[in-house]
Amino acid sequence: MRKTIYIEKDLLDDPILAARVDKCLFSFRDPRVIYCDSYQEIFSRKQQNFRLQKQNPALILAKKRKEFLHAIPEKFGIGSKNSYYFSHLFNCPFDCSYCFLQGMYSSAHFVWFINYEDFQNAIDQKGEGHFFSGYDGDSLALEKTTGFLHHFLPFFAKRPQSLLEVRTKSAYIKPFLCTDPIANCVIAWSLNPENIIRLLEKKTASLEKRLQAMEKVAEKGWKIGLRFDPLMYQKDFLPHLDQLFQEVFTRVQERSIHSVTLGSFRVPKSYLKLLKKNTQDPRIFAGTHLEGNTLKSLWENECIKKAQERLENYIPKEKLFVI
């Protein structure tokens, strides 16, 4: 099916961005190109049908003009007081039932901000810190189109005082295998028991594929991040958890692990209405309750406590961060 690509007209005024647009168009077979003034005309419109768009999302090429970095509170980081996330991509080709993006965005189209240099200038202005990619969409899932790592790995290689985290549920690791590892890049995989991945993380790589990918990049010398977040509560939670941890820590050596984070399912109240409308699996709301402005699992404390106890058998405490 022909891909629909919306392009902000202004991109063509900049030779570097225009070249990036051309390269993108060449990578699709006979794309349908529609020009717009701003990505928001399409992406931010109210009353959109997220599920309908999710069947065949369009790609919107845009320029980010402000708010390149967002500060992350220290308790949500992995050991730095200066932590930020940045999003070169809105939305994700995967379809996780619990994903907050369904509650945050009214559109399922991808927005790709192609002005990487402006993101990099913003990062340089901050100086040292931890910089996380993969908050508003999977970092690697659209790598073949965006070439994000092609631009950012060399950038961070020259800035050893900062850390780049690339978070994903994909098994696409080719860019990492084709280049020498850099010490300040963490490839972080989100993980859940295999049955949860199969039922709730549609279109993502299976647990086995993710583990295989981890093994390969670790062998190459890259640092791995394990993100058990959000851990979804289920019947027989502990046996499933034990099996997951055993599999992961058998396959990934502790020396390759940079950090492990642990968190449970939580959704800001403001996203709930849309999330309930758009999710494919309302089971995710079973056993949850509103605590202030956040929807949380009733079993959050118990889950986290039990998971933390088990993880401390596998990794030193200084590598474990509980969200």
């Binding site: 099916m1 349908r32 717009c36 005309e41 959109q48 309908l52 768009q53 089971r283 056993g287």
Partner: protein, 262 residues
């Protein structure tokens, strides 16, 4: 039900003929001032030319009947393409106004697409590579103002004129495009035909218990969750003496089922 809006009869004639639409009697018509043609799945209204006529006809139609999809079919000028070429509008614009970007359904991909610019008078200059008409923008803007989702609106246009082809009120070009457009219209009509109502959750609630409005809303949400699990029968397995206890028990049972990601 699918609503088709066309500006004049010559544009609509091939659709009226091929889709076997019958003219409504004025006294029982959707819109007594305008010709209306219907079958069991499609209503087609001849709105008259221009944006005001389109706006008035749409508003009048929507006040009388509910539609699940809205389609504008009509002629448009184009600087480059020959008369008879069919398009769907991928972007609808008007001077000094924000544009509309309709949803592109997979089955529409068989048609070519083009930007559509609506103007007040018949276009002579054709300065952009786009279709030029007089009703398209009003069609979209009127429906959007009535809170119709953009995913329920589309516009098919057939080239009727250009710099070297003056406009003529004829069915010829629409007939030429009919073989491309009729199947798409039929497909849309099938997709938007009203499906039988989903099972009413109220029939699952015990008639001996009184449920407040709030409790009914709660029951509705539980029912949808149970439906997604294929566990609607949970409702019939619970016997309680009051609505609150009934709902709490049902909720607990459904949650236990929901957490079993076997």
């Amino acid at each position: 039900m699918l609503l088709i809006a066309s500006a004049f009869l010559k544009e609509a004639a091939p659709f009226i003929h091929h889709l076997c639409l019958k003219k409504e009697e004025p006294q029982s018509s959707l819109c007594p001032e305008k010709p209306v043609y219907t079958n069991e799945k499609i209503t087609l209204i001849i709105t008259g030319m221009g944006k005001k006529a389109m706006e008035k006809a749409l508003i009048s139609s929507m006040e009388k009947r509910a539609f699940s999809f809205y389609l504008n079919i009509g002629y448009a000028g184009h600087p480059l393409h020959l008369p008879g070429k069919a398009f769907f509008a991928q972007k609808i614009s008007q001077e000094n106004a924000s544009s509309f970007y309709p949803h592109i359904f997979p089955f529409m991909q068989r048609l070519s697409s083009s930007d559509l610019i609506s103007v007040d008078k018949m276009e002579k200059k054709f300065s952009k590579d786009a279709l030029y008409d007089m009703e398209g923008y009003a069609f979209f803007s009127t429906l959007i103002e009535k809170r119709i989702p953009l995913e329920a609106i589309a516009s098919f246009k057939v080239v009727s004129d250009g710099p070297n082809h003056p406009f003529q009120k004829t069915s010829l070009w629409m007939e030429k495009a009919a073989s491309e457009l009729i199947p798409l219209v039929e497909r849309l009509a099938e997709k938007t035909q009203r499906i039988g109502d989903a099972p009413d959750f109220l029939i699952y609630l015990p008639k001996s218990l009184h449920f407040t409005t709030y409790q009914k809303e709660r029951a509705k949400k539980l029912f949808h969750l149970a439906q997604s699990l294929g566990e609607e029968k949970v409702f019939t397995k619970v016997t309680k003496t009051n609505a609150q206890a009934f709902l709490e028990t049902v909720e607990h049972m459904i949650e236990q089922k929901a957490l079993d990601y076997a």
